[in-house]
Symmetry: C2
Subunit: 223 residues, 2 copies
Amino acid sequence: MFKKVLIVDDHITANSGVLQVLEHLKIEKENVIKSQYCDDALLKIKRAVLDKDPYDLLITDLHFKEDHRQVQLSSGDDLIKAIRDNNFALPIIVFSGISLLQKVRFLFKEFNINAYVCKGRYASRELTQAIEAVYRKEQFLSLEVQNALSPKNDLEITDFDIELAKQLSFGKLQNQISDYFKDNNITPSSVSSIEKRLNKLRIQFKADNATHLVAKMKDLGLI
Amino acid sequence: MFKKVLIVDDHITANSGVLQVLEHLKIEKENVIKSQYCDDALLKIKRAVLDKDPYDLLITDLHFKEDHRQVQLSSGDDLIKAIRDNNFALPIIVFSGISLLQKVRFLFKEFNINAYVCKGRYASRELTQAIEAVYRKEQFLSLEVQNALSPKNDLEITDFDIELAKQLSFGKLQNQISDYFKDNNITPSSVSSIEKRLNKLRIQFKADNATHLVAKMKDLGLI
DNA sequence: GTATTACTTACGGGTAACCGTAGCTAATAC
DNA sequence: GTATTAGCTACGGTTACCCGTAAGTAATAC
């Protein structure tokens, strides 16, 4: 299991929850370092590297309240970026209240973080799972943001999509569909948006054009 | 039943067959006039009108062999046209060996003929039926050319049509379908022909565009 | 042989679809 | 309030479709 862990969170309370989890995982107390500032955290990491005793796990929040101190790194994003910019091969677990899928996606793709755990009802259990997973070189995501990385999220077919495909199958032109949507207060209704949606649908269904799309959706019984 | 009948046919033999039929229908022999030339036939018709004793039925062939005589009207078509141009309200039964649907269609649409009987195995029976039908103010067509007037003929869906629609439903472009047909020796294969066929299909299925067409054909289980 | 008819093919102009880009708006985080 | 993000819209350029016309070809009648 990980030996030396750095915890970065401005909330001391949340901080203590993490400590319990680490204790449970038999990580020695004296090797668990806490920090309430990103700047401070980065310094600690650098120091440890210079001392040939680097951290082998970082658990950090994303959002940090401003206070009287002037800071370089105002958020977990900044800290993570700084770490990656310095090429520190440090596993990173984000532990945050933010559950925006786009944010999660961004951190995995851009900074190659190793896990994303949402603060909430199941935080302790999930954080444990996350640490174990990361130790096995695996990714981990909280249930809440599970599908941030799965393309299933984009593949969801909405009522709008069905209606759009139906109109197409009726032989309507894109601008006629646009008018129809406007008349029936269906939004979006612009021709441009209709084009965009159709493009997404074509990609999802691996269809080469509108005719192909309608054929496939009819085969699936969607329209 | 008809009283006075004019028969126009250059074949005396065929001519005699018609005479038998008329005799069978109790039409008096002296009121059945024969002619082997269209010019002559038209003169007879005009004469009869002037004499206030017009014919009430014409039975004519379409094709007349040329001989030494110089003629104005060289075919049954010409004779019929002349009759209609003169506004003679004379029922016309065409009795011909030609069984081209387009010819039949043309005569009905353009000259409003009343019946079309094909010379052949069932000529006597069909000619009888034709005369009786025309007497009842009904149309009559030989079985052989029955569907000349029915739109069913144009509505026939061929294997080619099915294959074409299938390719469309696969999302192929018209020129890709053209290539596919060329590779598989399916004819016609030009893009232009494919366009023409699709146009026919769209009209038949009352489809506004290719997508609409594919949707309708899938609904009908044709593809 | 010629004439006629149907069918196939080629081409050009107008329209719609397709695709990328960029600007705008609404919602949200901070 | 500002910053950020997702979603909607507008626009221009390329491609494909649609449609009419015309020319070429094959089959048939005569």
